[in-house]
């Protein structure tokens, strides 16, 4: 899964030439401000890419965090739903114009997400958590094999979406519109989502179910409807995320969803699973740091970093930044 930012790496190396040596004011401390400016201007393309990728991870991470908050389930298939959304866009755009294929992508993804919940998770509602997780892994396996069959194992070329694929120049960096659009769109969607959760009836039901599943059921909340709604929202955001994400890549393959999915999950854990602002902050952090690591020439470790972060977070603050502690009763 090679990342393609030709224009950005070019800009980065241009700056490398004259900004590599550390500047110090003679006889004084190192010039921290200068160093910081150097660092920023040198890494601006990577930083921008990071903010953008971070925004895309955030859109996926919200799906993980909401499902976990309500079902206590790591939805291993979520990354693959994201991949399927990419494929749907590709196939739809070959037969219809983009203004139809994009809404269709979102619709199909939402239906897929809902169906997975109905077929693979709902029958296991009273089973041990391990069974549901295994079922999620099974769904992930199925979706990947299905994608492999449909694509015939060939990488499918992602369509160029006008406007968001255009290039813009910001400071020293040249980048696509999508890089700027992603964080803005993400924040708008998150604000809308938080409004939904805090100020609507279904939002209240969602908060109630995530606090106490059984009691909510006793209180007459239609738990199945709440769960369906959670999967609808999660899949919707994943579909939007997929359009933004794959615009930066030449093609989609059946395993395209794996890595972004895992990273988004780590972001959700980092932010404290169940917390939406936490997921967003975690995702932005992972996106930015990962791209800065790439900028430093350690591309091999840009993926590994995410998991080091995960293990460190789980050790020192297992509940994440904004998570709540749970206790076992003896």
């Amino acid at each position: 899964m090679a990342v393609r930012y030709p224009e950005q790496s070019g800009a980065g190396s241009l700056h490398n030439k004259y900004l590599t040596n550390i500047r110090t004011i003679p006889g004084k401390y190192p010039d921290f401000k200068g160093l910081l400016m150097d660092f920023l201007s040198k890494n601006l393309p990577y930083f921008l890419a990071g903010v953008s990728v971070g925004g895309q991870y955030a859109l996926i991470a919200i799906g993980y965090t909401m499902v976990y908050g309500i079902l206590r389930l790591i939805n291993f298939a979520h990354g693959d739903i994201f991949m399927v959304a990419g494929l749907v866009t590709i196939y739809a755009s070959t037969v219809m114009p983009l203004y139809l294929s994009i809404p269709l992508t979102i619709l199909v993804t939402v239906i897929l997400g809902m169906m997975i919940e109905r077929v693979a998770y709902k029958p296991l509602r009273n089973s041990p958590r391990m069974s549901v997780m295994i079922s999620a892994i099974g769904v992930s396996y199925l979706l990947q094999n299905l994608a492999l069959y449909i694509t015939g194992g060939l990488a499918q070329v992602y369509p160029t979406i006008p406007f968001i694929s255009n290039t813009v120049t910001i400071g020293s960096a040249t980048t696509k519109v999508v890089t700027i659009l992603t964080p803005i769109l993400m924040i708008v969607l998150v604000v809308l989502l938080i409004q939904l959760i805090n100020h609507t009836k279904i939002g209240m039901a969602m908060r109630s179910v995530s606090t106490d599943f059984e009691t909510s059921r006793l209180m007459g909340i239609n738990v199945n409807r709440v769960i369906s709604m959670t999967f609808i929202i999660g899949s919707f955001l994943a579909a939007v995320g997929s359009i933004l994400y794959f615009t930066n890549y030449p093609s989609v393959i059946p395993t395209s969803g794996g890595m972004p999915g895992l990273k988004a999950f780590v972001a959700a854990v980092f932010g404290g699973i169940g917390s939406i602002p936490g997921a967003v902050i975690g995702a932005m952090l992972i996106g930015i740091v990962e791209n800065l690591i790439k900028g430093a020439g350690w591309t091999t470790f840009s993926d590994a970093f995410t998991f080091v972060l995960l293990i460190v977070v789980l050790l020192f603050k297992p509940t994440g930044l904004f998570g709540e502690a749970a206790t076992d009763k003896v």
Binding site: L124, S140, L262, T300, P318
Partner: protein
């Protein structure tokens, strides 16, 4: 009394299997489809049983198996490539830094030991985590390993992202069969010992196990290391079978496949895991092969049949098992003589056929 009979029955089965393997080795082409299934079956049986020790018997939901196989496979390859061949294998790294080689059997043991040692290290932090967090942390660990072994700076040791080859491998079925059989026998003996019972106690109820004087941290780490030891040996066998090894291939999907095998066989059943492994590879590599090629019945072309369809059908079957036959083939029971007799007696009485062996 039945224990003794069961043991004798198992030994007879084992002896029969050895004879069968010897006959097959002489009669079947070594690269034929049946041999591929049987060899893969032996290798992955070992890995599946090692994963079952952790997930089924100790109740630790770990997804690091591919990572430990990777470590085992690389350890074996790095240590056993003949000195004379190192220059050509490590062509981009001046022949590498390891300038000795050890015999294959020592390589297999080292593969297990290095794997277990890394498991011990990673276990210190991650084994404190609960169910799904442990799963994701071990999955992450496997991904880190995959990146680490492809790192160019480690090239003189791991050959970077290039493949390792020219190490000793096997050509007969007997070799993987014997190694896997010995390892699985050791795991079974462990499970039947006092320590195995302690693992099961942790799986059933951590609080009660601790109250019965079982040191949770110690026993979890032990199970994790032993499981990784055998996953490492399994990885080494896989490397031998493939004759080349590349870190790139040890993706999380590999772990998922092994996990699904374990689930199909039944969490907590060694014989179930072994049986499921052979069924899994026979189905995916052999019986369902026909689904991958277009077929004509008369003038009518059977729809859907083309490359990749086999895997789709296969994953649907797996989903059906996961959803509707949650106990797997064996549940948490073992295949044994007394079990068989019980089953037949029950059937004779016309009792429900759902009872497990």
């Amino acid at each position: 009394m039945t224990k003794k009979k069961d043991l004798i029955f198992s030994l007879i089965l084992l002896a029969a299997a050895i004879v069968l393997v010897a006959v097959l080795d002489r009669t079947l082409p070594q690269t034929g489809i049946v041999m591929t299934v049987l060899k893969k079956g032996c290798i992955y049986s070992l890995v599946a049983v090692s994963m079952n020790l952790l997930n089924g018997f100790t109740g630790l939901f770990s997804l690091g198996q591919a990572g430990f196989m990777l470590i085992g496979g690389y350890t074996y390859a790095i240590l056993t490539i003949p000195v004379a061949d190192r220059a050509s294998v490590y062509q981009y790294f001046d022949g590498g830094i390891v300038q000795f080689s050890i015999p294959f059997w020592a390589g297999l043991i080292c593969a297990g030991l290095v794997s277990a040692a890394l498991a011990w290290l990673i276990g210190l932090p991650v084994l404190r985590l609960k169910s799904d967090y442990l799963a994701i942390a071990t999955l992450g660990f496997a991904e880190i390993m995959r990146a680490f072994f492809q790192w160019d700076t480690l090239g003189p040791l791991t050959n970077g992202s290039n493949m390792l080859r020219k190490y000793p491998s096997f050509s007969t079925l007997m070799f993987p069969f014997i190694v896997a059989a010995i390892c699985i026998a050791l795991i079974v003996m462990l499970i039947n010992s006092s320590f195995g019972r302690a693992f099961k106690a942790i799986r059933d109820d951590e609080v009660a196990a601790e109250a019965m004087g079982i040191n949770l941290a110690h026993h979890k780490r032990m199970s994790f290391c032993i499981s990784s030891f055998f996953a490492g040996v399994g990885g080494a066998l896989l490397a031998m079978y493939q004759t080349t090894i590349q870190a790139q291939a040890f993706k999380s999907n590999m772990t998922y496949e092994i996990l699904l095998i374990v689930v199909i066989g039944g969490l907590g059943s060694v014989t179930g895991s072994v049986l499921a492994t052979f069924l899994f590879y026979a189905a995916s590599e052999w019986w369902l092969r026909f689904l991958d090629s277009p077929m004509m019945i008369g003038d009518w072309q059977v729809p859907l049949l083309r490359s990749g369809f086999r895997k789709v059908v296969f994953s649907v079957v797996i989903m059906v098992i996961v959803l509707f036959a949650r106990q797997g083939i064996m549940g948490d029971h073992e295949f044994s003589l007394s079990g068989l007799i019980k089953l037949f007696r029950r059937k004779g009485k016309g009792a429900s056929a759902n009872e497990q062996v």
